[in-house]
Amino acid sequence: DTAVSQTPKYLVTQMGNDKSIKCEQNLGHDTMYWYKQDSKKFLKIMFSYNNKELIINETVPNRFSPKSPDKAHLNLHINSLELGDSAVYFCASSRGRAGGPSGTQYFGPGTRLLVL
């Protein structure tokens, strides 16, 4: 069974559209994350959710909104897509706080978003 899954794997869309990426983890972890990886391979955290509360919110545009219906899911909704949003988006989860002793993160396979 896949520990962290994301859908869709590929997403091609037009500028101005609204899209969502879904993430699910079956590890029973308390914290989930969204990362953006650009063409230069920089891996930047966007959001983190712990017990359904947002605990990290980097300086991302408010067009991006994380939604967590329950502890096992953290979806990413993007409004008014722009060309610069093209990237690979990774979901991850950890038992404890990332960067701490129980914070090993498990990543999903990524969603490759292309905005035309």
């Binding site: 994350y33 991850a92 960067g99 701490g100 090993t104 993160q105």
Partner: protein, 112 residues
């Protein structure tokens, strides 16, 4: 914030030991140092984590000096399958307002 710096790329040959160093001058007292490996078209995968001195597991060793301002990932006897990007992650602070900082990654190319 605990900014991290890694070499952008490294080359090695099969069977050699590879050492990748990450600098994190502003590491906080509560921060651990974690290394991840990423293959093309996959998500990063955990390799090793440490707080101080030396940690060893079945795939790598992690050396952390007393001042904790840097860390070195050591891969013994690399093979072609170790060709990947390696990221250093430093947890940034305690509490819910911490920020996670990944290094820019080191692309390791292992040659036959």
């Amino acid at each position: 914030l605990a900014k991290t710096t890694q070499p952008i790329s490294m080359d090695s040959y099969e069977g050699q030991e590879v050492n990748i160093t990450c600098s994190h001058n502003n590491i906080a007292t509560n921060d651990y140092i974690t290394w991840y490996q990423q293959f093309p078209s996959q998500g990063p995968r955990f390799i090793i984590q440490g707080y101080k001195t030396k940690v060893t597991n079945e795939v790598a060793s992690l050396f952390i000096p007393a001042d904790r301002k840097s860390s070195t990932l050591s891969l013994p006897r690399v093979s072609l399958s170790d060709t990947a990007v390696y990221y250093c992650l430093v947890g940034a602070g305690s509490g819910n307002t911490g920020k996670l900082i990944f290094g820019q990654g080191t692309t390791l190319q292992v040659k036959p």
